[in-house]
């Protein structure tokens, strides 16, 4: 086809149309003066949708609550939402879009630690406040970010102490093969050694790994007292299934930092998951008036058979309310003033218990609850109140170093 003007115009038009067609799923809102815009950036397809969709629902629920009570600073909050499709490129792209195009007041987003480390520098650069509402491996020291999820000092230490006391000192670790899994497995090693035991073996798996036969044989050969699983993704659910298929369910106890976080227990049978011990910031079974009221109103909004609320989902809800409390205290949306307000000691009674933002680390002091899986429901064993983010506090002091923007990684030798 010769390149004359007609063909050129036709081709250019087709190219423009075809690049405009695959638009990402973005709900637009006018960022007028009468509304406050916040961004939600969760994976709602592509493998992590089991975690992302409920977090998105609950974030909108929190926003509706605040708007129904009169809004924030007299204005309504609107949410511009991005579906990052479990794709790191989209995280980087949408973070930039949220900061520059929509000029949002805050971004609540990121599920995996990998995605958080992609958008954190972008939002730092464009001076947009960032709330990472997820449990993770600890160590992030950055004045622009607030994290309301549990870190190893909150939950892994409790889990390892309980396992060592109840089952024995030696452990075999299975972890996800990226920064969260690798760093948390180092923390497990530290806590296991502190209890006088040793980690007999550590294996790392990608998020879509499905064959665990040889791993199960190796575990039996090593004879640990318990197994610690730090597995993430849709594939590793088959570990629990194959473990039970080998007849080992209940013979070697399992503790997990991630199980039941995205309601993976619903895919397995009760026998395959009974006895797994987890430690979460939030359980539906928490017996407090705030929690019962929250569950009643959520089920009224989303239906009585809405899936169980996990601690990932609750972190999203709590993050929105913590941010709103900071804005209210500051009286303005100016980022520096909101950060200072959040550092002045915000403390809220939320469904998971009392949560206080720690000014030196920007992490939270919160309750954690040890639970055992029984018939697909995490059943409370013991509550540990007001645990501090001691792991991040050991390396991070934003009062002394306000310009710090690093993630510190623990060294266990």
């Amino acid at each position: 086809m010769s390149l004359n003007r007609r063909n050129f115009v036709r081709g250019a038009g087709a190219a423009a149309l075809s690049t405009a067609l695959p638009m990402p799923l973005v709900t637009k809102s006018w960022a007028a003066d009468s509304t406050i815009t916040i961004a939600s950036m969760y994976d709602m397809s592509g493998g992590l949708e089991m975690a992302g969709k409920p977090m998105y629902d609950v974030l909108n629920f929190a926003v509706e609550e605040i708007n129904a009570a009169g809004g924030l600073l007299g204005k309504k909050i609107t949410v511009v939402s991005f579906d990052t499709q479990t794709n790191m490129q989209l995280y980087a792209q949408y973070a930039q879009e949220a900061a520059l195009k929509h000029k949002v007041a805050v971004v609540h987003g990121g599920i995996t630690s990998a995605s958080r480390e992609v958008i954190r520098p972008v939002l730092d650069k464009y001076k947009t406040l960032y709330f990472y509402d997820m449990p993770y491996e600890g160590g992030v020291c950055d004045r622009n970010i607030f994290i309301d999820g549990v870190t190893p000092a909150h939950d892994t230490e409790v889990l390892v102490n309980y396992a060592s006391k109840t089952w024995g000192k030696n452990c075999y670790t299975l972890a996800a093969d990226y920064n969260y899994g690798q760093i948390t497995s180092d923390w497990v090693k530290k806590f296991v050694r502190a209890n006088g035991g040793d980690v007999l073996g550590t294996e790392f798996f990608p998020l879509d790994a499905t064959s665990f036969g040889s791993t199960i044989s190796k575990i039996q050969a090593a004879k640990p007292d318990f197994i610690m699983t730090i597995l993430v993704g849709g594939g590793p659910i088959s570990f629990y299934r194959q473990f039970a298929a080998a007849g080992l369910a209940g013979k070697i106890p399992i503790a997990s930092t991630t199980f039941a976080g995205s309601n993976d227990q619903l895919v397995l049978t009760a026998e395959e998951s009974n006895g797994i011990v987890v430690c979460k910031n939030y359980l539906e079974a928490i017996d407090s008036p705030v929690n019962k009221d929250f569950l009643k109103r959520l089920r009224a909004r989303y239906g009585a058979d809405y899936q169980p609320i996990s601690d990932l989902t609750m972190s999203s809800y709590q993050g929105v309310h913590l941010w709103a409390a900071g804005v209210k205290k500051a009286g303005t949306l100016d980022r520096t003033k909101v950060i200072q307000a959040l550092e002045s000691g915000i403390s809220l009674e939320l469904p998971s218990g009392l949560m206080t933002i720690d000014p030196t680390t920007h992490h939270c002091i919160l309750d954690v609850h040890l639970a055992v899986m029984k018939d697909k429901i995490p059943t409370l064993i013991e509550t540990f109140k007001q645990r501090k983010p001691a792991d991040t506090a050991a390396v991070c002091d934003l009062g002394k170093n306000p310009n710090d923007t690093k993630q510190y990684i623990i060294k266990v030798n």
Binding site: S214, R241, A245, L248
Partner: protein
Amino acid sequence: MDYAVVVAIEVVYAIASLVLISLGLAVIFGMMRVINLAHGEFMVMGSYSATVAAHHNVDVWIAILVVPPLVVGAVGVLIERVVIRYLYGRMVETMLATWGLSLFVVGALTMIFGSTTEGVPTPLGGVSIGRYQTSGYSLFVIAISLTAMAATYVLLRRTRLGLLARGTMQNAAMAAALGTDTSRVYAITFGFGAALAGLAGGVLAPISGVFPSIGGSYIGKAFITVIGGGALPLAGTASASTLFGIVNQIATFASNPVYGEVALLLAAIVLIRVLPQGITGRYLRGYL
């Protein structure tokens, strides 16, 4: 000693699962020279039909062994009639068409079922070998793959349909001249290969999670095994699966499953370099 038996079972299981995954593709590619890039998606459809049947309280053995081959076999015949029939002999176009088909199937399954992981509970319990436990289901998978190979052999060698199929694949014009309805033979052969893929998906559903994009993790291994095996569907699949399964498991036991996969791929590269026509290009001639 017990540990050696457990390791041996794991190795045989790896070989058997490679055989199961590849047999359907071996029939379609080996006999019809159709490059079916939707093979992984046939397996996923088999897994989903097993899951749906199990959730509707069909007996789990029927849900795994009977429902998927029937469903995916029917789908295979339909696809052959609608898509593949027009593209015989045109390899690049077949690849494109089946690639598009695989994307379509993944999208359709995501729309119907969502991308959350489903599952079928494993029907068999553990088996004790000395101090160790191994999964009884692994032994079942080994048995099924042997049965599938035997059934394919009997079908191709001892039945009239198999004779017509082999004749059509060798020389379609001559077979047609002798009165065979070649387009029907093609449709049935494709359907049979699809049914084998569906059976593999159904049998593997209880041990791996079932989600729409899991086909992608099967297709690579299936193709490597079939190409490494060479032109003969049964002898090639068996020999290539044995080689790759042993390499994979030795590497896995020495380190971890990720390096096991790496070792399998390296072995495939070396094999294709040394035997470009696959194993049955030079050895095991005269077998099926």
